[in-house]
Symmetry: C2
């Protein structure tokens, strides 16, 4: 065996997006403990020897939120040989996994979560939402992963518009959907035309319920009907 072939550990890191009440994209970060210090990072784990990566990501998401069957999407393998050469990172891995790890490859996943959903982590003591533009410096190449995940979530919504509803409450107004879509697609759309278009889709179902306590005409709540959507599969933008 040529000694210069990689023989390594492989991990999974998950970027979980949420959409807050101030119309900002957020991501979930967890706390890691190094000596007595705390540092935040992306949730992740080494994969098990009998696990597929998708299963591993599903496990990480469950350990993170307590939710089973979250939508998820693998988007990139990060394998820069120097992605884990920071001393603190190596030290943390030594402590966390009780073994010296000199190089580590990670497979990054995207996931989506309603921001009001109760987070019930079975693994982490501290799990918090961070607005995407307020994410501090993170260990390893986690900042890079997050940056690329933003490109990926936009692409994902182009491919499958329906996943956008994973970020909204079950009942939502068209304005909420508009603001989420705007936060993701960045190109301007007239809200009136957006409204007309969205409400013309048969998988956007109007409810007999409107907003309360708003200082203007109350907006109607709608829900997303996934079954109808699957039959038609209309893209928002052709």
């Amino acid at each position: 065996m040529s000694p210069n072939f990689i023989h390594t550990y492989v991990s999974v890191d998950c970027v979980v997006f949420g959409f807050d009440h101030e119309n900002r994209l957020n991501i979930l970060l967890v706390e890691r403990h190094l000596d007595e210090a705390k540092q935040i990072k992306l949730p992740g784990s080494l994969i098990y020897s009998d696990e597929d990566v998708d299963d591993s990501a599903e496990r990480v998401l469950y350990e993170l939120t307590g939710i089973k069957k979250m939508v998820l999407k693998q988007f990139k393998c990060f394998a820069d040989p120097s992605r884990a050469i920071n001393k603190d990172d190596i030290k943390w891995m030594d402590e966390e996994y009780k073994h010296h790890i000199d190089r580590i490859i990670t497979v990054a996943y995207l996931s989506l979560c309603k921001i009001d959903h109760k987070i019930n982590s079975t693994k982490y003591n501290t799990v918090n939402w961070f607005p995407i533009h307020e994410v501090p410096n993170l260990p390893f190449d986690h900042n890079k992963i997050i940056k690329e995940s933003l490109v990926e979530i936009r692409r994902w919504i182009e491919i499958d518009f329906s996943i956008i509803f994973e970020l909204l409450p079950k009942k939502f107004t068209i304005r909420q959907l508009y603001q989420l879509y705007s936060a993701l697609s960045e190109k301007y759309i007239d809200i009136k035309n957006f409204h007309k278009k969205i409400s013309s889709f048969n998988y956007i179902v109007p409810l007999n319920e409107i907003e309360t306590n708003v200082s203007h005409r109350a907006a109607r709540y709608y829900k997303f009907d996934a079954k109808v959507y699957k039959k038609n599969n209309t893209k928002l933008i052709k």
Copy 2:
């Protein structure tokens, strides 16, 4: 260290597409040798201990074709624990790498090549084009990888139309481009309208040269101007 974390080799496999003169998508496959028997497979390699995956894929492509700087795109990590449990596959790995490998994770890449380009492999004795619909049973999960690569190449062209020209000769007719596009996008487009649209793009440059020896009106040759394209970046389909 918990013993149930994966500690493994990581490889790269490349699906290289070409477009033949009968308007079929082809892929490059190589021969592997097991005992005295030959078997064809996707080109690939374990990654080196100081290599990033992208670099590794670039190296595999160079060893395969002799071409430097081929376009490439990582598209998925395949890590099913049972993707390498076939006895022949294990035996082959034992011989190829002189070491027993019980599990292997691979990162799959897409690449594109003009089918008339000379193939000058520095590693493989036998490298051949296979029409996509005539690919035989391959070892590991290579058939699965190829299947998913087809979905991916279509997506890639949606995102960046210009990469389609990697599959065409430098001089091409609009009909050639039409047939390639049809092979990839599968939805019918009227060739007249396609012609009109394509020739309206300023990055599709008409040449002072037309077909010869055709039994109908000779078509004009065009070339693709990447610089102009980069400035405008028009998508074929909005």
